[in-house]
């Protein structure tokens, strides 16, 4: 656009925001703005924006659902420790019986889930198990069918337990549970902030993609430029936000130390730990028994 054209138009149209305007001080609209056009858009393959928006929406919906997770009576850190221990025992188990007990336990726990959580947890576990079985398939043909079944069962147990933990516990409490393993509090804070900013920056991305979608009213010859604009702006916003966050923390007296509150043990948690101890005892007994039989 040449400066001359702009200048000539400015004389007619300009309405200076730096100037006080009264109610009667109207801007003159260009003639093309007065005309209603019959617009026939050109065809374009622009499904990527809609698909990106839908994908982001599903991820956010998962995040938001997690923030409204129904509190279970068992403390999250106890669930976290229990899940990790069972996964570890299950992975180490060489006795089929122990694996089957864990499988039965997982199926019983799944029954207690509400339908909204059950569906994704079950499907994730099934997909994981199917992939594991496909990878182990050659073993079946080489005469080690038992190994393929054990590994697939172990994958089902592990993926289901992690899924159930994720769907029944707020993520900020899962990160807090890391304190059990004596992780520094500042590291837990970093995890918490990472989760928070995934949501915030994702929200920014989603809004920008929505803005693009609303303005994609025809054929876009440079889709990659619009997409890189979203990524670039999100990066700039993330830098600004991290600086603002640090400044806010300094204003609130942050000096590099972050102290997380201690974890408490409830009565139901003791019951869970007793159950876990029984499971560990069973594991040791079955493993010793299995080793003796060889």
């Amino acid at each position: 656009m040449s400066e001359d054209i702009l200048a000539s138009q400015s004389n007619n149209l300009k309405m200076d925001p730096d100037r006080e305007n009264s109610a009667g001080d109207f801007v003159l609209l260009p003639d093309w703005m007065d005309r209603d056009i019959v617009y026939h858009p050109r065809k374009d393959r622009d499904g990527f924006v809609t698909k990106s928006v839908l994908k982001l929406l599903s991820v956010f919906s998962r995040f938001r659902q997690n923030s409204r997770v129904r509190e279970t009576r068992i403390s999250v850190w106890v669930k976290f420790v229990t899940v990790l221990t069972i996964i570890l025992l299950d992975a180490l188990a060489t006795n089929m019986f122990f694996v089957y007990i864990n499988l039965a336990l997982v199926l019983v726990l799944m029954v207690t889930l509400d339908s909204k959580s059950l569906k994704p947890v079950f499907f994730q576990a099934i997909i994981g198990t199917a992939i594991a079985f496909i990878i182990c398939a050659p073993a079946v043909f080489l005469g080690s069918g038992r190994s393929a079944i054990i590994i697939s069962s172990k994958v089902f147990v592990s993926v289901s337990l992690v899924g159930m933990l994720g769907y029944t516990s707020p993520w900020n409490e899962i990160t807090s549970s890391l304190k059990v393993f004596h992780l520094p509090d500042i590291m837990i804070l970093t995890f918490d902030l990472a989760l928070k900013y995934i949501l915030l920056l994702g929200d920014i991305c989603l809004n920008m993609l929505t803005a693009i979608r609303l303005r994609m009213v025809g054929k876009n010859e440079s889709k990659e430029s619009a997409l890189s604009g979203v990524l670039g702006n999100t990066f700039i916003r993330s830098r600004e936000m991290s600086k603002d966050m640090y400044d806010a923390m300094v204003c609130r007296g942050f000096e590099g130390q972050y102290i997380k509150k201690k974890l408490h043990l409830k009565k139901i948690d003791i019951v869970v730990f007793v159950f876990l101890a029984c499971l560990m005892a069973l594991f040791i007994y079955l493993e010793l028994d299995y080793a003796g039989s060889i």
Partner: protein, 231 residues
């Protein structure tokens, strides 16, 4: 678009909920061609969700929404050609202008819509020039949007919608984050657009803005119901 007898937007008994939590409850209203309508109500009453529905970004669980007599739902907007015409005719200006700007400079922002519409180069330049002049953006054309002030970003956000020449302008909290001078300027500008025959729908907490600009003011209460209207 079919014959709509002046009713450019018609919402009947619209209900919407997020994960079972009601956000809009039995909202019905019509907007006539060239009318200026204000929505007021407390935070969280559902104004922004209603605007998403009007822009085809969300769909009511109950009730119907018609634009120029044509029902707007998931199925009609699955037709890419119709969706593009609809989005060209309904311009949405976000509350946070930052989220609306994604190009590397202001000129590209203003050109984005007209380029997509397949206008001739001269027409695009004319539109960009006119809008830049109207909104006093000439000196900002080669600057990156994220380097601009809040008021400048708002002007660019309005400009990038105006270059598409939509029939309906929807503004979510247009005065939010603007200083007094920018607010006065924007009020005058919206009055000009209204005078030119554009249909304007906006949400605001500012009673003065609603009184001075809107033909009708609709209020949504904290129970997500339409309370009634003021003329």
């Amino acid at each position: 678009m079919s014959n709509y007898e002046g009713k450019i937007i018609s919402c009947k008994d619209i209900c919407f909920a997020y994960d079972g939590m009601p956000v809009l409850s039995h909202i019905s209203f019509d907007v006539m061609d060239g009318e200026c309508l204000a929505f007021m109500g407390p935070n969280g009453c559902g104004k922004s969700t209603l605007f998403k529905i009007i822009n085809g970004l969300a769909f009511p669980e109950l009730g119907t929404y018609q634009f120029k007599g044509k029902s707007i739902d998931r199925k009609t907007l699955d037709d890419a050609t119709f969706a593009k015409v609809f989005h060209q005719q309904v311009g949405f200006i976000f509350q946070n202008s930052d989220l609306q700007l994604f190009c590397s400079n202001v000129r590209e922002e203003l050109e984005f819509g007209p380029v997509q519409m397949g206008l001739a180069k001269e027409d695009i330049e004319r539109r960009v020039g006119d809008v830049a002049a109207m909104l006093s953006l000439e000196s900002l054309l080669d600057r990156a949007p994220y380097h601009l002030s809040g008021g400048e970003k708002k002007r660019v956000a309005i400009g990038c919608i105006l270059t598409m020449n939509p029939q309906v302008l929807i503004l979510d909290e247009p005065l939010a984050g603007l200083d007094e001078q920018s607010q006065k300027w924007l009020l005058g500008f919206l009055q000009s657009l209204k005078k030119s025959g554009k249909t304007i729908i906006f949400a605001t907490h500012d009673r003065d803005l609603a009184n001075s600009l809107a033909d009708r003011i609709l209020t949504i209460d904290s129970n997500h119901r339409l309370l009634g209207e003021m003329h």
